[in-house]
């Protein structure tokens, strides 16, 4: 190559040079590389978010807390936030109970099996949310597979109402969010040194004892990361409750969408958004003091 033999003026600016001027130039270059990405996020997210925050404090162009007053005193808003929290808690707990053993199995079983488990977690992960909601509509409907099976076994005489209610919403949401629990759990468990468990058993600990005293405490940061991710994602869920809830399971996100699309009430929609966003940011902030943010978001 020709260039390699030519003297290059840029050579003086190699990283060895720690002068302030070099540092500044380096920083400007990095900012230039980040600029397109930052510009897109700023224009499409930060600016409108700022506008919404401003709107939430305004009625007819002047400052007012009316929207927040309504969110905090109106029974409809309370019930919706209450239901959103309850569903998110149930979903998070169910995802943990289903996901922990799965991640544990992927960690301790031989590589062939653990690869298969991970593949079976990742494929649904990348399947459209709509496809999965549709699948659950088919499975849970009155004449669906699950009702047919239950009636065939004689467990029930009439088909159960499994969908278009809170139950259907929770089942589908757990299914959609389960990988978000399993993947951070697996990432944490994988880093736990096996030697620790071997040491425990060579000292005469029973497998159960070693699991609860050694393995489980070391996996807690993964538990926290997974629970945070599932809970926060569930707080903002829209598609699934809209399709599976049959119009009766109204979650916080639906308040935002209805206020915008049905009533064109930007003030109310913005106030609900700000409250929802504050909850999410608070949860992330509190958890990030225990587990790093990258660790929580490092999935997918």
């Amino acid at each position: 190559m020709k260039e390699t033999t030519l003297p290059n003026p840029g050579l003086q600016a190699m990283p060895k040079d720690n002068s302030a001027r070099f540092q500044r130039r380096e920083h400007h270059l990095m900012l230039a590389l980040l600029m397109p990405a930052l510009l897109i996020v700023t224009l499409l997210l930060i600016v409108p978010l700022g506008w919404m925050i401003a709107q939430s404090f305004q009625v007819d162009g002047s400052f007012s807390l009316e929207h927040y007053e309504r969110v905090l005193t109106d029974g409809v808003y309370w019930r919706t936030f209450g239901l959103t929290f309850r569903i998110s808690f149930i979903v998070t707990l169910a995802a943990l109970l289903l996901g922990y053993p799965l991640a544990y199995a992927a960690t301790v079983l031989p590589r062939r099996w653990s690869l298969m488990i991970l593949a079976l977690v990742i494929v649904p992960f990348w399947t459209s949310v709509l496809v999965r909601a549709y699948a659950w509509l088919i499975l849970l409907q009155r004449s669906g597979v699950i009702n047919q099976t239950l009636m065939g076994l004689g467990l029930t005489d009439a088909p159960l109402a499994l969908v278009h209610n809170e139950f259907g919403t929770i089942v589908a949401t757990v299914h959609i969010l389960l990988p978000f629990m399993v993947l951070p759990l697996y990432a944490t468990m994988q880093k736990i040194p096996r030697d620790l468990m071997l040491a425990g058993s060579s000292l005469g600990g029973s497998p159960m004892h070693i699991f609860w005293r050694v393995f489980f405490p070391l996996s807690l940061s993964g538990v926290l990361a997974g629970m945070t991710l599932v809970f926060v994602l569930c707080l903002g869920f829209y598609i699934t409750p809209e399709l599976m809830g049959g119009g009766r399971t109204v979650m916080a996100s639906m308040l935002v969408s209805r206020n915008i699309q049905l009533y064109v009430e930007w003030g109310a929609a913005s106030a609900v958004s700000v409250v929802l966003l504050l909850m999410v940011v608070t949860i992330f902030y509190l958890v990030s003091r225990l587990v790093s943010m990258e660790r929580i978001l490092g999935v997918k």
Partner: protein, 262 residues
């Protein structure tokens, strides 16, 4: 049977049940899509291709599929270079602001999607980008960026930085050193990022529900509206096609990774 092997059997049984819970719903859509009946009974009374025919011969579905495909491909083509540049910048800089800039770029993942959708709707309503294809693609790019950046950042962390320094000290300019030395080595993570961007844009529903419309309605928005009204088996055919696409993409990612480790 002693106690520990009994608990092992129970454990394996439980894990198997959870895996079935994860996978069966995704699989059950496939036989449904080949049913010859309007009713979604399982197993289907007979098999046919009528729902695929219904999909491919419908102008509405076809135009929605076209919009989705164009948006997904454009998103991958735009979000990948933008994301690679950003990931490189974040990785190479030691400035204190980097931590906050990184958080800012991950914001589309942190902010609940309904709020993102409302925000994008708002800025498009003001700039006249509503129902336009460029608007849809731009929103998809924003949502795909965190995935591309995370994937590429992981690749850069595993890359030995001194190789780039050697190339530059031998006289290559920064851009050439990146293209010739760095990029080939982080290629698997760049491909992964591009595929993530593609799937993300193909599956995106929430923002499109607010901003896509008219000529530029996406496949997922049409599916969503159809699902709210009735469970038409055409959707089973589309679901099968979408799942097959996702599966093929996941396989591509696995292959890109495999070749990197081989």
């Amino acid at each position: 049977m002693n106690r520990s092997s009994l608990s092992r059997v129970l454990f394996i049984g439980y894990v198997t049940l959870v895996l079935l819970f994860l996978v069966l719903p995704v699989l059950i859509v496939i036989p449904m899509s080949f049913s010859d009946s309007r009713f979604l009974s399982f197993p289907p009374p007979g098999y046919s291709l009528r729902w695929y025919d219904a999909f491919f011969s419908s102008n509405g579905w076809m135009s929605a599929a076209k919009t989705s495909l164009i948006a997904a491909i454009s998103t991958a083509l735009i979000a990948t270079p933008v994301g690679v540049a950003a990931a490189y910048g974040l990785n190479a800089s030691t400035h204190w602001s980097v931590r906050y800039l990184k958080l800012l770029l991950l914001l589309p993942l942190i902010v609940p999607i309904i709020i993102v959708a409302a925000g994008v709707f708002l800025s498009y309503a003001m700039t006249g980008l509503l129902h336009s294809l460029p608007g849809l693609i731009m929103a998809d790019v924003m949502l795909a960026l965190p995935y591309v950046i995370t994937a590429v950042a992981a690749g850069l962390q595993g890359f030995d930085n001194s190789q780039e320094m050697v190339a530059r000290s031998l006289g290559m300019n920064r851009f050439r050193a990146f293209m010739v030395v760095v990029l080939p080595q982080i290629k698997p993570s760049v491909i992964t990022g591009a595929i993530f961007a593609f799937i993300q844009a193909l599956d995106e529903t929430m923002v499109a529900l607010f901003i896509a419309g008219g000529q530029n309605q996406t496949l997922t928005v049409r599916m969503f509206t159809a699902l709210r009204d009735e469970i038409d088996p055409t959707i089973a055919a589309i679901s099968t096609l979408l799942t097959a696409t996702s599966f093929a993409m996941v396989m591509l990612v696995a292959m890109a990774r495999q070749r990197a480790t081989a």
